[in-house]
């Protein structure tokens, strides 16, 4: 999957600001960190959250999933998703991402955006480690294997 992509700094920055605004909204309204792995993880396992704590998590996930439909309604096109079609690779990566984010208490949003913005040392360390691991993984799969 070495599809070339164009450098799009302005839309990247604008999208980033939207992501940031969402995180600020969730803190201002509900007092919660916008960490996707934490929000979704709280719905799973032997002791998932119940009641309202369950429903706001489901609602946030529903919003994420419904966003492309709004995009389609406004622009007339679905956003581009260009990804491997290897089911085994997707399944292995999904399992590792799922387990890894629960073990490490966060992902790109919780540690990488909210945690860094809070100047959390744990999040800074986690972000450094997952960025390094991701860079190394791409280097190995694209340039060594």
């Amino acid at each position: 999957m070495d599809t070339p992509t164009a450098f799009t700094p302005l839309s990247a920055l604008a999208g980033g600001v939207l992501i940031g605004l969402s995180a600020v909204m969730l803190m201002a309204f509900n007092g919660r960190i916008a960490g996707i792995a934490g929000i979704v993880g709280g719905l799973l396992g032997p002791a998932p959250f119940t009641g309202l704590d369950r429903y706001w998590r489901l609602a946030f996930a529903a919003g994420l999933i419904m966003a492309p439909l709004i995009w389609l309604a406004v622009t007339g096109a679905m956003p581009e998703v260009s990804v491997t079609d290897s089911w085994p690779l997707l399944a292995v990566a999904g399992l590792i991402v799922g387990a890894g984010t629960q073990i490490g208490s966060g992902c790109t949003s919780g540690h990488g955006v909210c945690g860094l913005a809070r100047l959390s040392l744990r999040s800074a360390a986690a972000t450094g480690v997952f960025m390094a691991a991701a860079l190394l993984t791409v280097f190995v799969t694209r340039h060594l294997v």
């Binding site: 604008a14 600001v17 995180a23 909204m25 309204f29 509900n30 990804v83 799922g98």
Partner: protein
Amino acid sequence: MKVVLSALAAGLVFGLGLIVSGMVNPAKVLNFLDIAGQWDPSLAFVMAGAAGTVFIGYRLVLKRPAPLFAERFNVPTATKLDARLMGGAAMFGVGWGLVGFCPGPALTALGTGAMPALVFVAAMLAGMAGWRWLVRD
């Protein structure tokens, strides 16, 4: 009810941000991570825009006594750098680098109807649930 509707709105804005920024597209993510290849630095601008906005926004919001629709702010208090944090982050990074999906973009990509996103999200939920069952969390 307000807490649910505000979470829905925040989720929509987050998903639109992932779409506008291009982060919903794994090809763009992998090209960001591929410094030795056809590097696309766009995602650095996504991270900067997002973290910068949150840095300013949290400063304003956390000055208030409480959130609008909940009793208190739930902000993580752990400070210890331990093997669990580092090991989990390393695992996550490897999975992210393998196909270019992290949890948020995978859920938003699912909404486009892309079949690979469905496979990834199903496995991701299994991985999350599996670990939580394992440690009884």
